[in-house]
């Protein structure tokens, strides 16, 4: 049967979710070390309770554990993100354009760090990890509508910050 206690099932859950658990905690708190710890902690807990957690619930179980681990415990640090290397097309752009791009990215970085933690996490899970609103809602344990609200507010304040409104 499909049981989380089975090595294969557990291993596939790990492969499919560990990176997102890591990112999820990183977007919240901006601390890579804590994010690594959260992955270990969450999966050890899942293994210990493998007989009580059905595979379909494993995902939300992981995020709940990871989230609870740092609830009110650590102070959020600056989230530092990278940008994909510019494609060839972009590299032929004029120095002026490249400079503008660089400035834009700096503004975006600052704006992201100014966002409330839940808006930033929702925005980045969608933009970087390609998570649908429904998936994020499951991870955060809230309704899809709440996630849409966070996303809307995130876009609004990012644009305002960047455009200096």
């Amino acid at each position: 049967m499909n049981n989380v206690c089975e090595e294969q099932v557990f291993s596939s859950i790990f492969k499919a979710n560990s990176k997102t658990v890591f990112n999820y905690i990183y977007y919240k708190f901006g601390n890579e070390e804590k994010a690594h710890d959260a992955v270990q902690e969450a999966f050890v807990k899942l293994w210990e309770n493998c007989s009580k957690v059905v595979p379909e619930k494993a995902k939300s179980y992981l995020y709940t554990v990871a989230n609870n681990m740092y609830l009110n415990v650590i102070k959020a640090e600056k989230v530092r993100l990278k940008y994909a290397a510019p494609s060839l097309e972009h590299s032929t752009e004029s120095p002026e354009f490249l400079m503008e791009e660089q400035q834009y990215k700096e503004k975006l970085d600052n704006a992201l760090n100014d966002l409330p933690e839940n808006q930033r996490t929702t925005f980045l899970l969608n933009r970087i990890d390609g998570k649908k609103y429904a998936e994020i809602a499951e991870m955060e344990g809230v309704s899809v509508k709440a996630i849409e609200k966070r996303m809307h507010l995130a876009l609004k304040s990012l644009r305002e910050k960047i455009d200096g409104i």
Partner: protein, 303 residues
């Protein structure tokens, strides 16, 4: 425009009419730019395989927590531990040596597994292994004892001052502070003292006082006198006579102006203290005072 239209637009959930309206707004270009650039964002590196290996290592350490033991297995473990403890202590207690001792003014007779007999004088102790008796007739002695050894294997009496080895005979061993005496009444006894071996035929004694081997008189009887409730001495320093008196009556002896190196020859009763005190004081020209458990011997006033 509907609620949360920016989120809907990003996920492509806006209707055509709404999208057209949004495109007309001045902020539209900014949102398109934001959408494009945020698509190139990347999270920090995360090595899934490495993290999985780390987790596997942690899980191994914590494995006992995870696997719940069958309760009966747990019970078996405890039972096994108790069984080992019980067997261990059984063998330990069994291998412990038998030990018999006498108090002051006390005497006891012991019959060994091979019917050898030991009479233990006051304030003495013997130790032997009952379990190994058949192969190893070895007795440790502190104090004084008379042995009637049944014929058989070598019989050894170990003391702090020397070892006595016999095959089958009757002999007395006295091992007191500064005093060691072996008297053979029957057969042949071998005494090893300070690495020197002495063969002792029946009717002979071997005596060491304060580390010095002394000539001694031959025994007059077939048994040591103390077996018959008397203590006999032949040219023995007074010091050891008084120590014997203390042991036989459980009293404390003090002296005043008395030379304890004087040699004493005589016998005292082990049952009648007043008789014993007279037996010692008269030939040595001493007086004595008895108060409770204390005896004071003092020199007779010269007339």
């Amino acid at each position: 425009m509907q609620e949360n239209y920016l989120a809907k637009w990003l996920s492509g959930a806006l209707s055509e009419a709404e999208l057209a309206e949004f495109k007309k707004s001045e902020a539209y270009a900014s949102y398109v730019k934001l959408k494009e650039v945020s698509e190139t964002l990347e999270a920090p590196e995360f090595d899934v395989d490495q993290a999985f290996e780390q987790l596997r290592a942690t899980r191994m350490e914590e494995a006992p927590k995870v696997i719940t033991l069958h309760p009966f297995k747990k019970f078996l473990r405890v039972a096994a531990a108790i069984a080992i403890l019980l067997t261990g202590s059984y063998f330990y207690v069994n291998s412990l040596d038998e030990s018999i001792s006498t108090q002051l003014a006390d005497r006891t007779e012991i019959t060994l597994p091979d019917n050898s007999e030991i009479i233990l004088n006051a304030d003495s102790k013997i130790t032997y292994s009952e379990k190994n008796w058949d192969t190893n007739r070895d007795v440790k002695l502190e104090g004084e004892a008379f042995f009637k050894v049944a014929k058989g294997q070598k019989f050894t009496v170990s003391t702090s001052q020397g070892t006595v080895t016999v095959l089958g005979t009757q002999f007395n061993v006295e091992n007191r502070d500064g005093f060691f005496e072996v008297t053979c009444y029957e057969g042949l006894v071998s005494v090893s003292h300070n690495g020197m071996e002495t063969k002792l035929p029946a009717g002979n004694s071997f005596m060491v006082i304060d580390g010095e081997i002394k000539e001694t008189g031959k025994p007059h009887n077939m048994e040591p006198s103390w077996v018959n409730d008397e203590s006999s001495f032949e040219r023995i320093p007074l010091e050891f006579v008084l120590s014997e008196l203390e042991r036989q009556f459980n009293i404390k002896v003090n002296t005043q102006n008395v030379d304890k190196n004087l040699l004493f020859t005589g016998t005292f009763s082990n049952t009648d203290l007043n008789m014993a005190l007279k037996s010692i004081s008269t030939p040595s020209r001493m007086n004595y005072k008895l108060e409770g458990d204390n005896v004071l011997f003092y020199a007779e006033k010269t007339p």
